[in-house]
C-alpha cells in the first residue's frame, strides 16, 4: 500500500506539515492524535457491546417471566410422537380385513442390567424361541438400547413383568393384524416391522392408512373371496397344478368382488412366504392366455363387420403361416361357421378371422380394451403386457387365438366384461368410494349389438361346446374355455398347459364375470386324463357361480326370461344341432 492510499484510509495519520514540504510525523504527536480518536471509538464499541448484553439479558428475563407465568412445559415426556393406529381395511360389507392392535415391544438397556445371565435365562424361559447365547450377547453389549422382541402377546408381557428384571422395558407399539389370515394377502399386502405398508393396498394407500382416519373400504366381498379361494384351491390340489388365479368382477361397474392368487401366504407373517407365494398371479403375472382371447377376436370381427354370424372358415386342414403350423385341438376337418369356430374353439378359424380383421384394427381394439398397457387397478403390483413390437400378419393370426400376446388374468376379465356387458369398458377397481382410481365413467368399445352376439356365442359354448362343465343350474352361465400351451425355451410345450375358463352370468343380462385359471394342471381319471380349460377350470367357475348366486340373493334365471329365448332361437336358426363331443 503506498503512502497516499494509507493516508486515505487513516485520515488522522501521516500528517503533512507546511505547504509543499513533507516532514516525517513526530511519533508523540501522531500517537496522541491516534489515542484521542481511539478513545472515542472504544466508547462507541463499549456502548455497542453493552447494548448486546442488555438484549441478551432482556431476552433471558422475558423467557423466565413467561416460564413463571405458567408457560412451563410440563408434559415433556408425553410430547414424543404418540404412535397412531393405522386405519382399518374393510370389505364392501364392512367386515374387517386388516386392523391395528396395540402391543408391547421388549427392549433392554444393558447398562442398567444387574445380572445379564439371570435376565437371559428368564427371557429364554418366557420366550422359548429366543436363543440363550445370542440373547446374552445382546444383554452384555455396551449399548443403551437393544431390541429383544417386537410385539409381545399380553401373556408374554405379563410373564416378564412378573419377573421384575431391571433394565428390561417395553414400548407400546401398534401391530398390523389380518384377522382373515391368508384370505387375500395379494390384495391387502403387508407392513414392515415399523407398521409401514410395503406391498399391496397397504403400500398403495400408505399415506391414507397411516393417518389413521376412517377405514379403507374395498369392493371385495369377503364371502365371495373365500369361496373362490376354496374352490380354486380344491381344483389346484385335485389337478396338482403349480399355481392358480381366480377373479370375480361386477360386469356393470368393474368392481372386483374376489381376486385370488395361489399359492398364497399369511400376511401376518410375510417373512415366511417365498417369492412364489408373494407373487400376485392375477395382476402382476402376464400370460399367453390362449383361446379365451377368441372372445375378443369374434367381438372385433363382428364389431368391425369383418365377419357376420353366417361367415364360414376353412378348417379342413392345419394352416401354414410362414414357419408356423396352426392346428385345431378339437379338429373338425371341415368348413366352420363363425359360431362353430367359437364354440369348438378352432384356432384355424380364429386365425383366419383375425386375418380378415387386419393388424391395425386388431391392435386398435386391443389398445382400447387396455390389453397393451399395465392395468389401472389400485395395486402397486401390476404387470405390463407383452405384445409384439411390430405387428406382423403372423402375429395378428396367433393373437387371434390368444398366443403372441401376454396379459394378466385381470386384463382378460376386464376385457371380457366389456364384451358382454353391452360393450363398455370399466376401469377395474378394488377400492370403493372416494379413494378409487379414475372417475368411474365407462368407455364404449363395442356396439351393443356385438355384445349381444358375444353373449349368445358364450352361452352356446356352455350349452353345447367346450364349456359344458361350467353350466351352473339356473344361473345361465355363458363362457369361453382357454387351454394355452406354455411357451418353452423353443416353441411351445404340449405338456405344460395354462387352462382357464371365463364365464359371465346370468348371460341374458350379465351381473358377474368369473375367471378361473390353473397353471400346469394334470388330468386325472375323472377328466379322462384331460387337463384342458373345459375339464379343470370350467367346473371351478360352475361351483363358484352355484355358491355365490344364492349367497348374493340372485334369483335363478327362468328359461323364458328376456334374452334367453333369443339364444334358443338362434341355435334353431342354425338349421342343425351342433354336434356334441
Amino acid at each position: 500500500m503506498n503512502g497516499r492510499a494509507y493516508r486515505d484510509l487513516f485520515p488522522g495519520r501521516g500528517l503533512r506539515r507546511g505547504r509543499g514540504t513533507y516532514m516525517p510525523p513526530r511519533m508523540d504527536d501522531d500517537m496522541r492524535r491516534f489515542m484521542e480518536m481511539g478513545r472515542a471509538r472504544i466508547l462507541v464499541a463499549g456502548i455497542f457491546m453493552a447494548l448486546i448484553f442488555t438484549v441478551v439479558g432482556g431476552r433471558l428475563t422475558q423467557l423466565a417471566v413467561r416460564g413463571e407465568s405458567g408457560d412451563r412445559p410440563i408434559a415433556i415426556a408425553a410430547e414424543r410422537d404418540e404412535p397412531r393406529p393405522r386405519a382399518n381395511i374393510v370389505d364392501r360389507n364392512g367386515e374387517i380385513l386388516a386392523t391395528d392392535l396395540e402391543t408391547a415391544s421388549l427392549y433392554a438397556n444393558p447398562r442398567r442390567l444387574l445380572d445379564a445371565e439371570k435376565a437371559a435365562r428368564a427371557l429364554v424361559e418366557v420366550l422359548p424361541d429366543l436363543e440363550y447365547k445370542a440373547t446374552l450377547k445382546k444383554l452384555k453389549s455396551d449399548r443403551g438400547f437393544v431390541w429383544l422382541r417386537r410385539h409381545l402377546t399380553p401373556r408374554q408381557q405379563w410373564a416378564l413383568l412378573e419377573r421384575g428384571i431391571p433394565g428390561l422395558d417395553f414400548i407400546d407399539e401398534y401391530t398390523r393384524v389380518y384377522p382373515q389370515g391368508p384370505l387375500m394377502p395379494h390384495l391387502l399386502g403387508y407392513v414392515d416391522s415399523d407398521n409401514r405398508g410395503i406391498a399391496g393396498l397397504e403400500k398403495r394407500f400408505e399415506a391414507h392408512l397411516a393417518k389413521g382416519d376412517g377405514p379403507l373400504r374395498l369392493t371385495i366381498d369377503m364371502r365371495v373371496q373365500h369361496l373362490m379361494r376354496e374352490e380354486l384351491g380344491a381344483a389346484m390340489r385335485e389337478f396338482r397344478a403349480k399355481a392358480a388365479a381366480g377373479i370375480v368382477m361386477d360386469a356393470r361397474n368393474g368392481e372386483i368382488l374376489a381376486l385370488v392368487s395361489l399359492p398364497d401366504f399369511d400376511p401376518n407373517h410375510p417373512g415366511k412366504a417365498g417369492d412364489g407365494e408373494r407373487f400376485n398371479r392375477a395382476t402382476l403375472g402376464v400370460y399367453e392366455l390362449g383361446s379365451t382371447f377368441k372372445v375378443f377376436t369374434a367381438a372385433i370381427a363382428l364389431d368391425t363387420g369383418a365377419a357376420g354370424m353366417k361367415k364360414r372358415y376353412d378348417a379342413t386342414k392345419p394352416l401354414q403361416v410362414s414357419r408356423f403350423m396352426i392346428r385345431d385341438y378339437h379338429a373338425k376337418k371341415r368348413w366352420l361357421t363363425l359360431p362353430e369356430v367359437f364354440v369348438y374353439s378352432s384356432n384355424i378359424g380364429a386365425a383366419l378371422m383375425a386375418q380378415d380383421i387386419g393388424a391395425k384394427r386388431q391392435r386398435d381394439y386391443l389398445d382400447k380394451l387396455g390389453m397393451l398397457d399395465p392395468l389401472g387397478v389400485e395395486l402397486p403390483e401390476t404387470g405390463k403386457p407383452i405384445s409384439p413390437s411390430t405387428w406382423r400378419p403372423v402375429n395378428t393370426m396367433t393373437i387371434g387365438f390368444g398366443h403372441g400376446i401376454a396379459v394378466s388374468p385381470l386384463h382378460l376379465v376386464s376385457g371380457v366384461t366389456a364384451a358382454v356387458n353391452g360393450g363398455v369398458l370399466h376401469r377395474p377397481t378394488i377400492v370403493a368410494g372416494e379413494h378409487r382410481d379414475g372417475d368411474g365413467t365407462p368407455r364404449r368399445v363395442f356396439k351393443e349389438r356385438t355384445s349381444k352376439e358375444i353373449r349368445k356365442l358364450m352361452r352356446l359354448t356352455v350349452e353345447n361346446g367346450t364349456g359344458r362343465n361350467a353350466d351352473a343350474a339356473g344361473y345361465a352361465v355363458g363362457g369361453k374355455t382357454g387351454t394355452a400351451e406354455k411357451p418353452a425355451a423353443k416353441g411351445y410345450e404340449g405338456k405344460r398347459l395354462l387352462s382357464s375358463f371365463i364365464g359371465a352370468f346370468p348371460i341374458n343380462e350379465p351381473r358377474y364375470v368369473v375367471l378361473a385359471l390353473l397353471d400346469e394342471p394334470k388330468g386325472n381319471k375323472k377328466t379322462l386324463g384331460y387337463a384342458t380349460g373345459g375339464w379343470v377350470a370350467a367346473p371351478v367357475v360352475r361351483r363358484v357361480v352355484e355358491r355365490m348366486g344364492p349367497m348374493l340373493g340372485m334369483p335363478p334365471v327362468e328359461e323364458d326370461a328376456p334374452g334367453m329365448r333369443e339364444l334358443e332361437l338362434y341355435v334353431a336358426a342354425e338349421g342343425r344341432k351342433l354336434a356334441s363331443y
Binding site: 500500500m1 488522522g12 510525523p25 511519533m27 464499541a45 433471558l60 428475563t61
Partner: protein
C-alpha cells in the same frame, strides 16, 4: 495481602501488584461456573454417546487447571514476549489450518479438526487470539523511519485466513475473524466511508454464504420460519421456561437431558433450567463486566499496540459469548460457537485461556514503557 509486599520485586510479586485482579476474578468465576454446568449438563450427553457418564466432567476437570495455569503464566509476560508468543502461535496454527483443509478428517460435514498426540485440535480457535495480536502489531503506528506496509500485509494475511476457513467450511468462524479484524481497523482509525463500505460487504458476503453453503441456508431458513425451529432450539427454549427465576435446582433439570449439545453450545440453557434467571443474568453480567472493564482500562492506555491488541481480544471474547447466547436464546440463527470458559471443548477453552492470558499481560500496569 501481607504475603506479598509492595516492594517484592520477584516475578510473582510484580505480577500480583500489576495485574487486573477484577478481570482475573471474573474469569475464575466463569471457569468455576462452567465446571458446575459441565457436571450438570454432560452426563446425559456422555450416556447418549455410549461413554462413561463422567467422561466429559473428568476431561473438563483435567483440562481446566492447565488452561488457567497457562493463562496466568502468559499474563506474567512482557509486551515483547506476548507479541512473540502470538506470532509463534499464529504461524503454527496457520500451518495446521492448511493441514486440516488438505488432510483433515471430516466431522459433521466439515474438516476443522486435526489430530496431534491423540488430541483433536481445532487450529482456528488458537488462530483467532493470535491473529488479533498480530493485527494490532501490524496496524499500530510506528516511528516514520520504521514504517512497514503493515496494513497491506495484514490484509493479505486476513484474506488467506478467511479463505482457509471458508474452505473447511467454517462460515461462523470466518465471520468472527472478520468482525474482530474490522473492529481493530475501526479502532485504528479507518475512515467512516470504509467502515460503511465494509458493513455493506459483510452483508453481501452473508448473502453469498446463504447461497453457497447449504447448511448456512438451512439454518437461516429455520430461523426465519417460526414454525420450523430446530429440535435443539425448541428444547433450549423449554429449558429457560422451566427454569423461571430460580431454576429447578441443581441436578433437577430434565430437559437438559434431551439437548444434544447441552455440554457445549447450549450450556446456558442448562444453567437456565437448573439455576434460573438469577444464574443466567449473573453469567451475562460477568461477560459484560469483563468486556466493559477491559475497554475501560484500554481507555486510559497510552500504547497503541496494547490498545489495538487488547481491543481485538476483548471484542473476540465478547462477540463469541454474544453469538453463543444469542443462538441459544433464538435471537439469531444457530451458529456452532462455544461459550468462552464455560462450554466443554478442549480447543476453545485452551485458546480462550491463551487469549485472556495475553489480555491480562497487555493490561498490566506498566511503570514506564517497557517494550
Amino acid at each position: 495481602m501481607p504475603a506479598l509486599s509492595r516492594t517484592d520485586n520477584s516475578i510473582v510479586g510484580r505480577w500480583w501488584w500489576t495485574v487486573d485482579k477484577w478481570t482475573l476474578l471474573a474469569l475464575f468465576l466463569l471457569a468455576v461456573t462452567g465446571m458446575m454446568m459441565t457436571m450438570a449438563a454432560s452426563p446425559p450427553v456422555a450416556y447418549r454417546l455410549g461413554l462413561d457418564p463422567q467422561h466429559f466432567v473428568v476431561r473438563h476437570a483435567m483440562l481446566l487447571p492447565f488452561a488457567l495455569i497457562a493463562m496466568i503464566a502468559i499474563s506474567t509476560m512482557s509486551l515483547k514476549a506476548v507479541r512473540r508468543l502470538a506470532l509463534a502461535i499464529f504461524v503454527i496454527s496457520l500451518g495446521l489450518m492448511v493441514l486440516t483443509v488438505t488432510t483433515g478428517e471430516t466431522v459433521k460435514g466439515a474438516s476443522r479438526w486435526i489430530y496431534i498426540f491423540g488430541f483433536s485440535i481445532q487450529p482456528s480457535e488458537f488462530l483467532k487470539p493470535a491473529f488479533a495480536v498480530v493485527t494490532a502489531w501490524l496496524l499500530a503506528p510506528r516511528p516514520a523511519n520504521q514504517e512497514i506496509p503493515g496494513a497491506a500485509i495484514c490484509t493479505l494475511i486476513f484474506t488467506l485466513i478467511v479463505g482457509l476457513l471458508l474452505a473447511q467450511p467454517d462460515v461462523g468462524q470466518a465471520g468472527v475473524v472478520t468482525a474482530v479484524w474490522l473492529s481493530q481497523w475501526f479502532l485504528a482509525g479507518l475512515s467512516i466511508a470504509w467502515i460503511g463500505g465494509s458493513a455493506v460487504m459483510g452483508g453481501l458476503s452473508l448473502m453469498a454464504a446463504y447461497f453457497v453453503f447449504p447448511h448456512v441456508a438451512l439454518r437461516i431458513d429455520r430461523f426465519m420460519d417460526p414454525n420450523a425451529n430446530s429440535y435443539q432450539i425448541e428444547r433450549a427454549m423449554q429449558a429457560f421456561l422451566a427454569g423461571g427465576y430460580t431454576g429447578e435446582g441443581p441436578g433437577e433439570g430434565i430437559i437438559k437431558a434431551s439437548i444434544p449439545d447441552a455440554h457445549s453450545d447450549f450450556i446456558l440453557a442448562v444453567a437456565g433450567e437448573e439455576y434460573g434467571l438469577i444464574m443466567t443474568l449473573a453469567i451475562v453480567a460477568i461477560f459484560a463486566f469483563i468486556v466493559l472493564r477491559g475497554f475501560a482500562r484500554l481507555f486510559k492506555e497510552h500504547n497503541a499496540f496494547v490498545t489495538l491488541a487488547g481491543f481485538g481480544l476483548l471484542v473476540q471474547f465478547g462477540l463469541q459469548a454474544a453469538i453463543n447466547m444469542g443462538s441459544t436464546l433464538n435471537l439469531i440463527p444457530t451458529k456452532g460457537m462455544t461459550l468462552p470458559f464455560m462450554s466443554y471443548g478442549g480447543s476453545s477453552l485452551l485458546a480462550m485461556s491463551i487469549g485472556m492470558g495475553m489480555l491480562l499481560a497487555l493490561t498490566r500496569r506498566r511503570v514506564g514503557e517497557e517494550e
